[in-house]
Amino acid sequence: MGCHGVLDVSNPTVIQDGDIANAGGANARRLDVVSDFSNRLARIAADVALFTDERVYDRRSAPQPSYGDPDLVLDRRNSQEYEQFGAYDNSDRHLGWLDEIVTKSAIAIPAVHAYAAAANKNDFLAQLFAMRGYAILQMAEDVCPGFPINDVSPNNLPIFSRPYTTDSALTYAIAQFDSALAFGHDSTQFLDFARVAKGRALLDLGQFSQAASVVGVVATSFAYTTDPSVRGNDFAPFQINRWSFNPMAVGNLEWGSGLPFVTANDPRVPTTFVQTRFGDPSDSLYDQLKYPDATTPMVLASGIEARLIEAEAALNSGDASWLVILNTLRSSLVVPSLPALDDPGTMSGDIDLLYQERAFWLYLTGHRLGDLRRLIRVYGRSAASVFPSGAPYPLGGTYGAATSIPFVQVVEAQYNPNITSGCTSR
């Protein structure tokens, strides 16, 4: 129109991409991922705990509609109700929380790559790739096959994903960890984080020796945690509010076949009695003390996990050192030391013992569902032997048959033409 100037407007309060195309802006975008990663992984771990035997749920009144409480639905492992809630709420919370980390890292990585100062650019890229890979790994472990991993393009437009299988997602995650390892040569912290996470992904793929190889250099004392300075209510799931209508408690032999996280009196899972279950005074509810307050960080990857990966690799290769590794951890990292474990003598018993140790070491860290699914996927155990199905659920109804957290197809497919069906398996 040739009216340049007359029709110009400005808005200093609106942050435009061009305004933050600098080192400070790139770092602020990285920190957005760091903050979100810490918050979301705590939520993810809470979901995993409910879905598995780590946590049980209590509720003082029936939700309306019956699928209206996602925590209840997760605890009951009912795929159909989870999807009903997602459709009702137009949300896909578990997958969505993880995909947020993916999309945010997709925005932050190019910014850091372009603008971060040379002194810490590689560290930042390693950290971002590791967090992005970790989110994808968690998707692969938790979510049923067929899920999308949506992303964002450099010009801020959505990239709608094809469906991923568990294995293809794990491979995708490993690619992210490889990128982290390529950039992270300046930082042992991020390198080890990527190594342990990659080892975990390889374990999920059944590539035990490769997994052990990757984590071999990680010191047992290493730990990569959520950021303790990140505040928010997202750690709240780990607290029991005695006045709450829907408290969550430590699981104890949930389904009858779950692990005795309370009665084992294991110092790795400290608990305390709070109150009895609503409507069932005989059922005591215990709160966990592992996270006594919201500032207690959650360990996402550690040297202990590295040793557990090595133990599992050893067990699968017939190497008796697997039990030595477990007992070394029990004796050296817990005060007073835990008694040494005996070899059950059968492969099945050995696996049970290894996975019990993993469950107690990695309690409330989001690992448990991946472990249970690995028992099915890699070790060929039946779903019924890992998760119960049809048993009476304490708050009404029966347990569902889900062995993974579903994604909500109607939500994921509403703009994504690539998603034409739901879970390809449960």
Partner: protein
């Protein structure tokens, strides 16, 4: 031309209005307005008359012998003059007169009787009065020969037109709200003609009125759409009106004034014209004052979905009410795109066109008024509050009110005792939340000056104390607790409003063909707004009371702890410089430039609780400044060749709007401190909004025989906002107006005086905000990696391809005048909005994105009927009735999804915007505990399994009834206004508050019907929705002109006194406080706290 003039004698002829003209005369006069072109030289009188009649296409029977008696030759060379003027010239010096014939034609007769052609001479002067009341009308525009040169009548209705050239002239008197009158007047040098006129009040259906359009003044008969007019000057003098919003309320079918907390002095209002057809953009009509775009609402769509108040936060006075209604001459309401296309961007919701008072030439005229008012807020039905005390199973005292049934049912709280709080119904001293309070309004104006420099200057001062109060006993109680003898003003008078305003207009004729007018308005407001939520809580839960409110920090009822005060200081300066120039006889150009500057500072304080120091307090300082600039230029050419007429207009309009705000909030104030500097934590936020629009238009109106008009126009406009270059979009408009009653083949239908059919079509737009197009990057400081850092993230993705929402409207209707006075106007409209903006929730994990995806169809009907019931010398009575209905349907949501949620808000394809959905309670199953205990717990509530459409929250159907009576020859006038609104839902917020806060006794009373218990037990928003249908006695006034004998004593020529009442009675089955106090949005069903204020006032209006 001047052949016959020498035969006349200089004389003075007094022409006065007779009784209402008969239909034949009206038609005959209409014929005399036809334009003729005649060129005869030295012709006989018969030849001249034949030539004139032929040119006018009028059959004029005459007696040949009669004309033969005047043998003098006649020369007449005129082009495009009225038939009246031509006849006046050729008949001058004869005793022949023009008379109406019974068939509606014209005839010639000899004699001394009255002729339709008035002869006079010299200066034109006279008085204009209201035909109904005989009261003088000020501000009537008097013009000669449709020239732009005009004068206005003074306060006494007088006017003078001097220096009029000798010859025949067409004198026109026009004023919004009255039928235009035109008289042909012959003027002779050094003589005076006195023409007194009586203008008849008209409804919106009379065709001769003049209205202000985007292209200038236009005759209503030419328009294809309805324009509602409000004669503000007359109304404000007599009706109970203290603000522009009250001036608009219940006055125009289709225009709704929504009030959030009517009982709060200076409470917010919001306007809706023909309902709402946008999901996410501003639903209010735009306002144009004296040609300048005027910020009228408090809503700023900032960025994404975030909305901000233009002036700050809290219950603030609406910017629309910065104008003093006493300074307004007229208001015209343009209802939709079919009419508003040429007003430019964002006119899709309609336009309110306000014209303020102008300078009037003549003797200096003073006028003043005083209006004492008494405000009150009616007591009403409320829920009874109580407190339940309890402990848990291990004996721990329950922290808070152990009354939520969930807690009770869950065994979390074992009930120990119940304390019942007194309520307003008990007339308890702690519960008296309203007190009758005074308000005063004063104003004065002066106008006058010569034609070359006429002026109008006015000032006003309003002072009001709102009727809400902290209960006196609670104040005493607080004093004793704090150990003070006096409490702050905020406790004693939590709601006050003071405004001062100045309005000035200076107008001058720069040449005989042009004028310039400068108008400016300044207002300053000091407003302390009551904390509506505080009072809502009191109504819903029982008032603060010893033993109820001092036990622990969970109780929010303590007056100092919960009473937040907001002090608003706002000033506003507007100015408009406009000019008109008739550059050619057929071409008029006009232009205007205007400014709208506003500053607002609000201080909000939630004091650090002296009772609970640990809770700290919150202080907020909010400063906002806005600037608006308007620049318009236009030209209109008129052409009247033969029976056709052409009106061609072009124009360009530039508007600029800018808002800049800064908010600083301090949390955790030191005890006793009100200063942000003592806060433990300070947060600052900035607000910025800037938009520029540029539009051009062209319009052509073609008339056929002054009874069929076709309009076609096109506007191109675009808006620049951040992230988008200027992309103009076309918006067409078309119209048809057919005055069927003027067609020869339809004349003579018994009882029908005027019948006009009209049709109009137009398109207009609403523009997306910057944030919608750019997507939004958020930034905030948060602890991460061990210290506070700023983080940037993206809350929505970009969509640079967003287009404006586009609304197209077709309106059709009819205007009918029959039986000499019954008037009716009927309008239907259909409106379709496409490219509606919706926030598209991407799959979880991806930020959302905005898209042009939805469409909405609306339709409605509006009717205005005005019936003269009695019309005698002593008594005149009139009954006015309006009706409006509008509804809409979401046709598609594109990629967006239905939101049929069960919480009382949502939208879905096939349902209207503003729909509420829910799962109604259909029964109870009193089974918890294994037996029926008569107490309904949440889990015993049985709901419909299907989420159902419950209704809408803004009334789709409204009715008004306006009886008017004048007696004693119009010196005593009475009128009333009844308002009925139906078919909408309103939430009973007090019951809802009471329920959600667990403060209702009902759930524990086994005598309460189970379904009522269920409502309180479930505590679901949708359960508290009720039909809000109501009828309100909105206005009443009795006005009397003081008798002349009294006036002589006090030496005032004119004085009136008016007794006025507002919101005098309410009839409704709704159980809440007031069905009209509602949330100003349309997707939420929440009601608001304070009922509409009832006022009584007396207004004295004096012209010294």
């Amino acid at each position: 031309m001047g052949l016959v003039s020498g035969l006349l004698h200089a004389q003075v002829t007094v022409a006065t209005e007779a009784e209402p003209t008969k239909i034949d005369v009206r038609r005959a006069e209409a014929l005399l307005d036809r334009l003729v072109t005649v060129n005869v030289s030295k012709a006989t009188l018969r030849q001249a008359i034949d030539a004139i009649a032929a040119s006018a296409d009028v059959h004029m029977p005459y007696n040949n012998e009669l004309l033969a008696a005047y043998p003098a030759r006649v020369t007449l060379q005129v082009r495009q003059v009225s038939l009246r003027a031509a006849l006046a010239q050729v008949l001058s010096g004869t005793r022949l007169r023009v008379i109406p014939l019974s068939n509606g034609g014209l005839g010639l007769q000899e004699g001394d009787g009255e002729s339709l052609v008035i002869r006079a001479g010299g200066i034109i002067t006279g008085t204009v009065v209201n035909a109904a009341t005989k009261q003088p009308l000020s501000g009537v525009i008097i013009s000669v020969d449709d020239s732009i040169r005009s004068v206005r009548t003074d306060e006494s209705g007088r006017y003078h037109l001097r220096g009029i050239k000798s010859g025949n002239h067409r004198l026109t008197a026009r004023m919004v709200g009255f039928a235009r009158r035109t008289k042909l007047v012959t003027v002779i040098d050094d003589s005076t003609v006195v023409v007194d006129l009586a203008l008849a009040v008209i409804g919106a259906n009379v065709l001769d009125q003049v209205v202000v359009t985007a292209t200038g003044q236009q005759r209503y008969r030419e328009l294809g759409h309805v324009v509602a007019q409000i004669n503000a000057d007359s109304l404000v003098r007599e009706a109970p009106i203290a603000s522009v919003s009250e001036l608009l309320q219940s006055r125009v079918p289709g225009l709704q004034v929504l009030t959030s907390n009517g009982g709060i002095a200076g409470g917010e209002i919001s306007l809706r014209l023909r309902g709402v057809t946008t999901f996410n953009l501003d639903p209010e009509p735009i306002v144009v004052v004296d040609g300048v775009r005027y910020t009228s609402n408090n809503l700023v769509l900032n960025g994404d979905t975030q909305t901000e108040d233009r002036r700050g936060r809290g219950e603030l006075r609406s910017p629309l009410n910065d104008i003093n209604p006493n300074d307004i001459a007229t208001i015209e309401v343009v209802k939709g795109p079919s009419a508003s296309t040429l007003y430019g961007p964002d006119a899709a919701n309609g336009v309110i066109v306000i014209t303020t008072k102008r300078g009037q030439p003549g003797k200096t005229q003073f006028r003043w008024y005083v209006r004492p008012v008494q405000n009150d807020v009616p007591k009403t039905r409320i829920a009874r509050g109580y407190r339940a005390w309890g402990h848990d199973s291990s004996g721990v005292l329950f922290p808070g009110n152990c009354s939520v049934l969930d807690q009770y049912a869950a065994g979390l709280c074992i009930l120990d005792s119940i304390t019942v709080a007194p309520t307003v119904l008990d007339n308890d001293a702690y519960s008296i939340l309203a007190k009758s309070r005074p308000a005063w309004q004063y104003g004065a104006s002066v106008s006058g000056g010569p034609q070359a420099l006429r002026y109008f200057l006015s000032g006003n001062y309003d002072s009001q104390i709102g009727a809400l109060q902290v209960p006196p006993a609670a104040q005493q109680y607080l004093k004793s607790l704090l150990g003070v003898s006096s409490l702050g003003d905020a406790i004693k008078t939590p709601n006050t409003l003071r405004t001062i305003g100045v309005h000035a207009n200076v107008a001058t004729d720069v040449t005989s063909k042009g004028n310039i007018s400068l108008t400016t308005n300044y207002s300053q407001t000091a407003h302390r707004s009551a904390d509506a939520s505080y009072f809502a809580n009191q109504y819903g839960s029982g008032a603060p009371h010893p033993g109820i409110d001092t036990t622990n920090v969970f109780n929010y009822l303590d007056p100092t702890f919960s009473l937040q005060t907001t002090e608003e200081q706002a000033s506003r300066l507007t100015g408009a410089l406009s000019g008109t120039l008739q550059t050619m006889p057929w071409l008029t150009t006009n232009g205007s430039m205007g400014l709208d500057l506003s500053n607002g500072i609000t201080h909000s304080l939630l004091p650090a609780g002296e009772l609970y120091p640990d809770d700290g307090g919150v202080a907020e300082d909010d400063r906002r400044a806005s600037t608006g600039r308007t620049l318009t230029f236009g030209a209109t050419a008129l052409g009247v060749p033969n029976r056709l007429s052409f009106r061609s207009s072009v124009g360009v309009q530039y508007t600029y709007a800018h808002l800049d705000g800064l908010t600083t909030t301090g949390y955790g104030l030191a005890p006793g401190s009100t200063s942000i500097s003592t806060a433990q934590q300070v947060q600052t936020s900035q607000l910025w909004d800037e938009t520029v629009t540029l539009g051009t238009y062209g319009e052509e109106v073609i008339g056929f025989n002054d009874r069929l008009f076709l309009t076609g126009s096109l506007r191109m406009d675009g808006a620049t906002s951040l992230g988008d270059a200027y992309h103009p979009h076309p918006y067409p408009k078309a119209g048809l107006s057919w005055i069927a009653s003027d067609e020869p083949f339809l004349k003579g239908i018994p009882g029908i005086d005027e019948l006009r059919f009209r049709y109009s079509y137009g398109a207009a737009s609403r523009y997306p905000t910057s944030g919608m197009k750019l997507g939004q990057v958020y930034g905030y400081a948060t602890p991460v990696e061990g210290q506070s850092h700023t983080i940037f993230g993206r809350s929505s993705l970009a969509n640079p391809l967003l287009r404006p929402e586009r609304t197209r409207e077709a309106e059709y209707g009819a205007d009918l005048t029959m039986f000499g006075g019954v008037r009716a106007g009927l309008s239907w409209f259909t409106r379709r909005t496409t490219d509606e903006l919706q926030r598209l929730s991407n799959p979880t994990g991806l930020p959302p994105i905005w898209g042009n995806v939805a469409s909405v169809r609306a339709h409605g009907f509006e009717a205005t009927v005005d019936i003269p019931v009695a019309d005698t010398r002593y008594v005149r009575a009139n009954m006015g009735f309006t009706y409006a209905y509008n509804t809409n349907t979401v046709l598609s949501l594109g990629d967006a999804k239905d939101r049929k949620d069960a919480f009382g808000s949502g939208f879905a394809v096939g349902y209207p915007l503003g729909a509420v959905f829910g799962q109604p309670i259909i029964g109870v199953a009193d089974t918890v505990g294994g037996h029926a205990d008569g107490i309904i717990f949440p889990q015993e509530v049985v709901r419909d399994s299907v989420v159902r459409f419950l209704g809408v929250i803004v009334p789709p159907r409204t009715y008004t009834l306006t009886p008017q009576l004048s007696v004693f020859n119009g010196h005593v006038r009475m009128s009333a206004l009844f308002d009925r609104q139906t078919e909408f839902l309103q939430s009973d917020i007090y019951a809802q508050n009471c329920s959600s806060n667990g403060l209702c006794l009902a759930p524990f009373l086994t005598t309460t019907p189970p379904l009522i218990q269920a409502r309180f037990a479930a505590s679901n928003d949708a359960d508290f929705l009720e039909p809000g249908d109501f009828t309100r006695w909105r206005e009443m006034n009795v006005t009397a002109d003081l008798p002349q004998a009294w006036l002589r004593i006090i030496h005032f020529p004119n004085a009136t006194v008016s007794l006025q009442g507002r919101n005098l009675a309410l009839w409704t089955k709704y159980h809440g406080v007031d069905p009209e106090s509602r949330d100003l949005g349309f997707s939420s069903a929440s009601a608001n706290g304070i009922p509409q204020a009832r006022t009584w006032s007396v207004r004295f209006d004096v012209t010294p």
